[in-house]
C-alpha cells in the first residue's frame, strides 16, 4: 500500500466513522427518542446497536495501522539497545581487567613479602 493511498483510505475511514458517530449520537439522544413512535424507536435501537459495533471496529482498524508499524519497529529498537549494551559491556570488561590487575599485583606483593 503506498503512503498516499493509505492516507486516502484512512481519511475515508475517518469520514465514514464521523457519519456513523453523528447518526448514533442522534439515535441515542433522549430528546430525539421521546419524539419517535414505538416502531421508530425499535428501528433506532437496532440501528444504534449495529452502529455501536461498526464504530468500535473502525476505531480498532485505525489503532491496528499504528500497532502493526510498532511491531516492525520493535526489532530495530532491540538492535539499538543491544548496541548500547555492547558499549556498556566493553567498559565493564576494562574495569574487570583493571580489578584483575590490582588483585594480581596484590598477590605478587604478598609473595614478594614472603
Amino acid at each position: 500500500m503506498s503512503g498516499a493511498t493509505g492516507m486516502d483510505e484512512q481519511q475515508k475511514l475517518n469520514d465514514a466513522k464521523a457519519q456513523m458517530l453523528a447518526t448514533k449520537a442522534t439515535l441515542d439522544d433522549p430528546t430525539y427518542i421521546a419524539g419517535l413512535t414505538q416502531d421508530q424507536q425499535d428501528d433506532a435501537i437496532v440501528k444504534s446497536a449495529s452502529l455501536s459495533t461498526a464504530i468500535e471496529k473502525i476505531e480498532n482498524t485505525q489503532i491496528a495501522v499504528i500497532a502493526d508499524k510498532v511491531s516492525a519497529n520493535s526489532a530495530e529498537l532491540q538492535k539499538a539497545t543491544a548496541d548500547l549494551a555492547a558499549a556498556n559491556a566493553q567498559i565493564q570488561n576494562a574495569t574487570a581487567l583493571l580489578n584483575a590487575a590490582g588483585s594480581l599485583l596484590s598477590i605478587v606483593g604478598r609473595i614478594v613479602a614472603l
Partner: protein, 298 residues
Amino acid sequence: MSLALRKLCRAGAMAALLAVTACAGASNEQIAQVAQSGETFATQAPRVYDVVFASAVNRDSSDLEQLRKRAEGRPEAVQAAVKTAFVNNTKALSERLAHFNTMKSHAQLLDSYFTKLNALASGGGSAAAGQAATNAASELEKLAPGIKDISIGGKALNGFIGPLVSLGVSTFSNSRLQEHLKTSAPKVQEAIALQRSMFALLLDQERARAKATADAAVKVAFDAFDKPLPSSWAAERLKTFAPAPITNALSAALDAAEQLQTNYEELVTGGDGSLNRLQNALALVGAVVTVFESNTQQ
C-alpha cells in the same frame, strides 16, 4: 621518574584531554538527562494505555446497558440486535486490548533502551574503572615503593591514574554515544513517533465522539421545543457538554511524547533541548494517570 615514563604519562593525559574537547554534539550529562526522562515516559505509557482501555470498556458497557434497557419488552428482532452487539463489541474490545498490549510491550522496549542509554551516559562505568585503576596503582606502589615518588606537575602518579582512567572511559563512552546516535537514532526517533501517533489517534477518537454527541444535541434541540421532553432532559443536556476526562490523560501523554521527540532529536542535531517542558509534561501525565487509576480501583 624516567624521562620516557614522564613523556608517556603526559601524552596520555593530553590525548584524553584532547579527546574530551574534540567531542562534538551532546555531552554525556545531556544524554543522561534525556535518557532519564525517556525512562519515565516509557514507564508511564503503559499506564496511559491501561486507563484509556478502562475508559473504553466503561463507555461501551454504559452504551450496551442503555440499549438493553431500551430493548426490554420489545420484539425479538430488536433484542437479538442488542444481543449481537453485546457479543461483537466484547470481541472488538478484546482485539483492542491486544493492540494496546503491543503498544505496552513496545514501551517496555523503549524503557530498556533508555535504561542502557542512561547507564552509558551517566558515568557510573567511568567512575568504577577509575577506582579500579587507582586500586591497581596502590598495589603497584606497595610492590615498588619508589613509584610514589613519581609525580607529574607536582601531582603524585597514584592520585593521577584514577582520574585519568575515569576521563578516558568517559571519553570512550561519549565517543560510543555519538556513534550510536548517528547510526541508531532514526529507529529510536521512529519508536517515539509511533507512541506519539497512537496517543494522537486515541485523542482524535475521543474528540470525534464528543463532537458527534454535541452536534447531535444541537440538531435535536432545533425540534425539541415542539415535542415532549424526557424527564432526564436537563441532566442529559449537561452530560452532553461535559468534557471526557480521559482526554486530559491523552493530551498530557501526547505532549510528553512530543517533548521527548524534540529533546531526543536535539541530542542528534546538537540543539539545546527544552528539558524543563519535557519534565513538566511527564509530571502532568503521572498526576493525571494516578487520579484515573485511583478512580478505577474504587
